[in-house]
């Protein structure tokens, strides 16, 4: 019988321990939010038994598929995450997707506690004409492509028909993408970048990159570390218009109150005034401020393809309601010609069936990580046993460390509810099946899950392949390869 196969794999893959009255927890998503949540729960609750599921056969979320390949130090955190799964009360169950392999209501019926930490796997849209033209990608897709995420290994962006790329947005993701396009490829070749990406970048004709922000240098969303890095790229001409650096009194006030913005502004000013001249043949990076995308222009020669972006000049002024400085159009337009556009204006979470979701903010409505089912009445109503953490809880901002604090908060809420006695059933007849129930269900649907041990096979294979090319790893970039190595 099919079921016995899964159960055999179960006993091989996991050490089965069970306390008399365990707290059965499922964490959905194995990025920083998922791992920090699991870690904190294991420490806080001796009876917690935690399964971390992920739709990919590989763990670590954006640490694997987002963090830039030339930032190996940032990925060291995976050592710490791997030690979490080594705890016998914790396991990783990959290749299981919430919403398709299993529904939310099924998961809630199987586990006492479900923590959703499945990140933000879609994109904010601009909503301007021409957004669907070929040659326009979201930064998320482009990043997944160079990081070897199996959903984008076939993206194959055309880097050869144009010498100019426009990146919309000036956050850290925008800077990552700019750096990958502009950094000498021999420097990238020794990183864990996907080999299809190095091959394409080696042939790339992109010489000029515009990084366009709708507000000014005082409001730039990037951080000093990433900015310093991009400004320091070898053999790169950086252009910043000094006129853009003029500050209003409101800008001065904003800088006074924000250390990050102050330091970013200083770096930009220094780069603007360095007066380096453009040596021919040098690649170019242009910081463009106060321009918001108005429409995308279609190529005359190549129908359906982008040939440029039309921008509206903006001024930054205070929104009286929010007190924030926002960009307002001035009615003056200008075009930048380009054959490649990367929209880096932010990620967006996607809801699953049965999950309360705030479509405007793109997050699951919550208070301290407890999922709100209804906030309309006087009393807040929560979904019993359902919690949220990470980008799905806060929106798509913050570094890896932010998720540590975020998990601390979610786990504190869970602990409070455990103490109140709302989560653990009183009698054993009410006990939920936990992992065994999950695996039986997956088995009945022929979902072939990937255990942590099987991920380690992928890990070993990638490292072995990497060694041959003097890379830390050569990522497996297709579903087929990943699942094949996992079952070897």
């Amino acid at each position: 019988m099919a079921m016995s196969i899964a159960l055999k794999r179960l006993s091989r893959s996991f050490s089965t321990i069970s306390s008399s009255n365990p707290l059965r927890v499922c964490v959905v998503g194995s990025g920083p939010a998922g791992f920090y949540t699991a870690d904190k729960l294991l420490k806080k609750h001796e009876r917690a038994e935690i399964d971390i599921i992920d739709r990919l056969p590989t763990p670590f979320g954006l640490v694997r598929s987002g963090v830039a390949p030339d930032h190996p130090e940032t990925k060291i955190v995976t050592n710490q995450f791997s030690r979490v799964v080594q705890n016998e009360r914790c396991s990783f169950i990959g290749n299981v997707s919430l919403g398709s392999s299993i529904s939310l209501s099924e998961l809630c019926a199987i586990y006492d506690v479900v923590v959703l930490a499945y990140g933000a796997e879609s994109d904010r849209v601009l909503g301007v004409p021409g957004e669907e033209l070929a040659g326009i990608y979201s930064a998320r897709e482009f990043v997944w492509w160079y990081n070897g995420h199996p959903d984008c290994s076939k993206l194959d962006p055309d880097l050869m028909s144009t010498d100019t790329a426009v990146i919309l947005g000036q956050g850290n993701v925008a800077l990552d993408v700019a750096r990958i396009l502009l950094r000498p490829t021999f420097e990238l070749a020794s990183t864990d970048i996907a080999s299809h990406a190095v091959a394409a970048l080696e042939k790339s004709c992109i010489r000029k990159v515009y990084l366009v922000g709708r507000r000014g240098p005082v409001q730039a969303a990037c951080t000093a570390k990433e900015l310093r890095e991009v400004l320091g790229i070898k053999d790169l001409y950086v252009h910043i218009d000094e006129a853009d650096l003029l500050k209003t009194p409101a800008d001065e006030e904003e800088l006074k109150n924000s250390r990050i913005h102050r330091r970013v502004y200083e770096l930009l000013s220094k780069a603007a005034s360095s007066g380096a001249s453009h040596i021919s043949g040098q690649r170019e990076l242009h910081f463009v401020f106060f321009q918001k995308p108005d429409r995308f222009l279609e190529s005359d020669d190549k129908s359906g393809y982008v040939s440029g972006v039309r921008f509206e000049k903006t001024i930054v002024k205070e929104n009286t309601e929010s007190g924030k400085q926002i960009a307002a159009g001035t009615g003056h337009f200008e075009n930048i010609e380009c054959g490649l556009v990367l929209k880096s204006i932010g990620y967006k979470s996607v809801p699953v069936d049965g999950l309360p979701f705030d479509h405007h903010k793109g997050i699951v409505p919550n208070v301290g990580g407890r999922v709100l089912s209804d906030a309309s009445g006087d009393r807040m109503q929560f979904e019993k046993g359902l919690y949220v953490c990470g980008w799905l809880k806060r929106g798509p901002t913050g570094i890896i460390a932010t998720n540590h604090h975020c998990a601390e908060e979610t786990v504190a809420s869970i602990s409070e509810d455990v103490e109140k006695g709302v989560l653990i059933p009183m009698s054993s007849s009410q006990q939920k099946p936990g992992r065994e129930g999950l695996l039986q269900l997956l088995d009945s649907r022929n979902v072939r899950f990937v255990s942590f041990g099987e991920w380690e096979k992928i890990d070993t294979a990638e490292k072995r392949r990497g060694m041959l090319k003097s890379k830390p790893r050569e990522k497996l970039t297709t579903w087929r390869e990943l699942l094949k190595i996992a079952s070897e």
């Binding site: 000093a224 806060r394 460390a401 604090h405 601390e408």
Partner: protein
């Protein structure tokens, strides 16, 4: 997790290393930089214990300084830290709960500590641009914030007290923005 298992890992590496023949001493230098940086102080330490006492300075004990960590709940832990060791490593060796996501490679800001006494803060060398870049992102930044992996024990800071910042309960729902410095 990392705290105890972290040091276990380090200890295992050190053990393997010690068991290797002496001639392989130079091999240590070929370890990847990060690993090397992390392991070296551990190795030196184990070496002095493993090796003949004749190698040791007679005043070895004096080469340790006193450091107090104060955690989220105000609980204090006093430890002795050999000169040359970073506060992150010292914390991990002594089961003090200080995060160290990037294991001391100046890429994460999770080892953020607040020097509790300004005089001690002033005795430290100024943070580099790179440390300041990471401090920009530290949770609950204060005037005397530093990264634990960048503070190295030296006799001048004997008696230093370091607070591990508490995560606030009212963690902002729409993203945390660090406080101005």
């Amino acid at each position: 997790m990392y705290i105890s298992k972290f040091s276990q890992l380090g200890a295992r590496a050190v053990k393997n290393f010690i068991e290797a023949p002496l001639a392989s001493t130079s091999r240590v230098l070929h370890l990847p930089l990060d690993q090397n940086r992390y392991l070296l102080p551990l190795m030196q330490k184990s070496f002095t214990t493993a090796a003949d006492n004749a190698f040791e300075e007679p005043n070895e004990e004096k080469q340790k300084i006193s450091v107090t960590f104060v955690d989220n709940d105000g609980e204090e832990k006093n430890i002795k830290v050999p000169v040359g060791m970073s506060m992150l490593e010292a914390a991990h060796e002594n089961d003090v709960e200080l995060e160290g996501a990037c294991e001391g490679s100046l890429a994460c800001s999770t080892c953020h500590v607040i020097v509790m006494d300004v005089d001690y803060y002033n005795k430290l060398e100024d943070p580099t641009d790179e440390e300041n870049d990471m401090l920009d992102l530290a949770f609950g930044l204060s005037e005397t914030s530093r990264l634990g992996c960048q503070i190295i024990a030296n006799p001048d800071i004997d008696g230093i007290r370091l607070a591990i910042p508490a995560a606030t309960r009212n963690f902002a729902a729409d993203g945390y923005k660090p406080k101005p410095h």
